[in-house]
């Protein structure tokens, strides 16, 4: 393996595998996908994130061939796929509803697609057994779908879509019904498959941690539009809007007006009785511009005494403590009523925790801890 970073989207000479060009999908007068343009590259693990009803499934169904765009063009490997029926696309989809065939056993469900290819029987046997092993379903091979649990059904659906090893695999919430441990193991299996076969994955998930773990890039959608596409770390560290910052992970949003105060540095007036905050930003703001500072709770330090060298420091009272096991989130109320969340790792036992309810504490963060956003 080479050490170059996998980033075909930064390479102008790369041709995307999938290209949506100004695609709009309407159901009657309802716009499910709104003038969407996106390019997905070969070998990518592309994650779609967004609230319920934002059009993720619709996007996938257009790729699989079950919906046609009302407007715009979808190219797959340089070819417009508008006229290619679903059975002739080398695309497989795992349905959000699983869509397992109730009259067939688990084994036959997984073999279904292979049989359509007229694969020799011994090869089918081998491939199905491999899929059963991968998804830990070997024990249930002879059962019918209604005789297994919801999580097992989800794994059957996954195995069935993986079996044909297609060029493009569409997974609509593939792991939602699995427990955390199994989900993590399956995530690594998926990444492993992707590594070995070079399949391109498009995956819908409601679990941002999952998106962060598996994805090469993440697209955050809202109301049929893509708000931001970026690598997981960029999405997390450099969201382009309050919407994305808020959707991915926990965040403190402080709204105020910006005044330039130096090199890429701004003073943000946000409350009458507190000193302005200082934040750095690559995006320029003019004096008096409205802006939002987005700061992740783990980037806010909490201390009993005022830190001597902090760029930004505010005092407040602990309102609430959310114990998350490996970390705790403190909700601190400032004198002006704003609540700021600060997260610290629990390196000590809970009984020896330094702060408790109603304690007065100092919160502090650096100038680069937060992202300055216009909207």
């Amino acid at each position: 393996m080479s050490n170059t970073v996998f980033a075909p989207w930064d390479d102008p000479s790369e041709q995307p595998l999938i290209k949506f060009e100004n695609v709009t999908k309407r159901f009657g007068s309802f716009i499910a996908i709104d003038d969407l343009t996106v390019e997905i590259y070969e070998r990518e693990f592309f994650a779609l994130l967004g609230p319920s009803g934002c059009g993720k499934t619709t996007l996938m169904r257009m790729l699989a061939g079950f919906e046609t765009p009302s407007q715009g063009v979808i190219d797959l490997a340089g070819q417009n796929i508008a006229t290619v029926p679903p059975n002739l696309r080398s695309v497989n989809m795992m349905f959000q509803s699983y869509a397992l065939f109730p009259h067939l056993s688990i084994w036959d469900n997984i073999a279904f697609g292979l049989r359509r290819e007229r694969m020799p029987k011994d090869q089918i046997d081998e491939r199905v057994s491999e899929m059963l092993r991968l998804t830990r379903l070997a024990k249930f091979a002879r059962r019918k779908p209604h005789q297994i649990s919801g999580g097992q059904r989800q794994r059957v659906a996954l195995a069935r879509s993986l079996a044909k090893a297609p060029k493009l695999l569409l997974l609509d919430e593939p792991l939602g019904a699995l427990d955390k441990k199994l989900r993590q193991e399956t995530q690594f299996e998926l990444m492993d498959i992707q590594e070995k076969t070079g399949t391109t994955f498009v995956i819908v998930t409601h679990d941002q941690e999952e998106a962060m773990t598996v994805a090469s890039r993440v697209a955050v959608m809202d109301h049929g539009k893509i708000i931001q596409i970026a690598t997981p770390d960029k999405i997390y560290e450099e969201p382009n809007s309050v919407y994305v910052a808020d959707f991915i992970g926990d965040v403190n949003i402080i709204t105020g007006t910006a005044t330039p105060s130096g090199d890429d540095t701004y003073a943000i007036q946000w409350s009458e009785d507190t000193a302005p905050l200082t934040a750095k930003s690559a995006i320029p703001f003019s004096t008096g511009d409205n802006c939002h500072v987005a700061i992740r709770p783990e980037k806010v330090a909490i201390s009993a005494d005022k830190p001597s060298e902090a760029t930004n420091a505010v005092q407040g009272k602990i309102l609430d403590i959310a114990y998350l096991g490996n970390s705790s989130t403190y909700h601190v109320e400032l004198p002006n009523g704003a609540v700021i969340k600060a997260q610290t790792a629990n390196t000590r036992r809970i009984s020896r925790r330094a702060f408790t309810w109603e304690d007065t504490v100092w919160l502090s963060w650096t100038a680069t801890a937060g992202v300055l956003l216009a909207n």
Partner: protein
């Protein structure tokens, strides 16, 4: 007490409406023809006692059924007509049920109404109407001659063709409704999944739609086959002299020959023949109920 009633009621029902009539018919089948009212002997007489009464019963009529080849030919012919008619009904009913299940949801009640509507007029009137349509001077022949497709009227009435038309027409709803209810429940995403995995439209239909509507197909086929086997009105009114069906034979034994004992023997055998498909039908229904749970 409530449990007792719950179990008791169906048994009373079964005994009153099935076992008692069946015992009566069986008794007549074991009797001999006589010129009297009612036209058979023995009649039960308290004075002679039950032993003497039973001694007079014999299987003579059943033996007779095996001797005259009219009867087994009629049974076989009924069986053949029932099988063929059921097949036609299935071939016509399935596409109709399929189209209904695919129709926009708001149309479905109307379509269902159209299927059930004919039941609101008398069955006999509808069969007579077919006589008016199929006869040599009937509407169909007049129409065909008007279009110039034929110059001489087609002889349809009083042939087996007319019997098939009558049976298919009469029993079509019994085929459509169970198939429709199976197809309506079918999840459309299963067809999409099949296509996604490489099926053409047709093979998705064959590999997914047909197997998943199987219980509907079986139920519908039995609902048509069972009554058709003993059908008597349709072959009598629409069929010809060469249309041989056991229902018709039964009717003639009863009313033309006034041979109640032989007619009863025919009926008993018919009933025994029907036990097989009825049991199979029950099995199918049970399986379907289990699958739904």
């Amino acid at each position: 007490m409530r449990r007792f009633i719950l179990i008791f009621v169906p048994y009373v029902w079964l005994i009153a409406l099935f076992l008692i009539p069946f015992a009566m018919v069986l008794k007549i089948a074991l009797s001999d023809i006589a010129i009297s009212i009612p036209p058979y002997v023995p009649q039960f007489d308290w004075a002679e006692g039950i032993r003497a009464f039973l001694a007079q019963l014999d299987l003579e009529n059943f033996t007779w059924l095996t001797q005259d080849d009219l009867y087994w030919k009629a049974y076989l012919s009924s069986l053949r007509i029932a099988v063929i008619a059921t097949t036609f009904t299935l071939l016509i009913g399935y596409p109709i049920a399929y189209a209904m299940a695919r129709a926009p949801t708001e149309w479905r009640p109307t379509l269902m109404m159209l299927i059930i509507l004919p039941f609101w007029t008398s069955f006999l009137i509808r069969v007579y109407a077919w006589m008016g349509i199929l006869s040599n001077e009937g509407i169909l022949n007049q129409f065909l001659m008007w279009t110039g497709l034929i110059s001489d009227p087609l002889v349809i009435l009083n042939t087996n063709t007319a019997v098939y038309i009558g049976i298919v027409y009469t029993y079509l709803p019994f085929m459509i409704l169970p198939i429709y209810s199976a197809l309506e429940r079918l999840d459309a995403s299963l067809i999409e999944a099949a296509e996604d995995l490489g099926c053409s439209r047709f093979s998705a239909f064959w590999l997914v739609t047909i197997p998943l509507s199987k219980t509907g197909i079986i139920a519908g086929s039995f609902l048509v086959f069972i009554p058709t086997l003993g059908e008597f009105v349709i072959p009598s009114l629409l069929g010809g002299s060469d249309t041989l069906m056991i229902g018709k034979v039964l009717w003639e034994e009863f009313f033309s020959n006034r041979d109640w004992p032989v007619a009863s023997a025919v009926a008993v055998i018919l009933l025994l023949l029907l036990v097989v498909p009825i049991v199979l039908f029950q099995r199918n229904q049970q399986k379907q109920q289990e699958a739904e749970q």
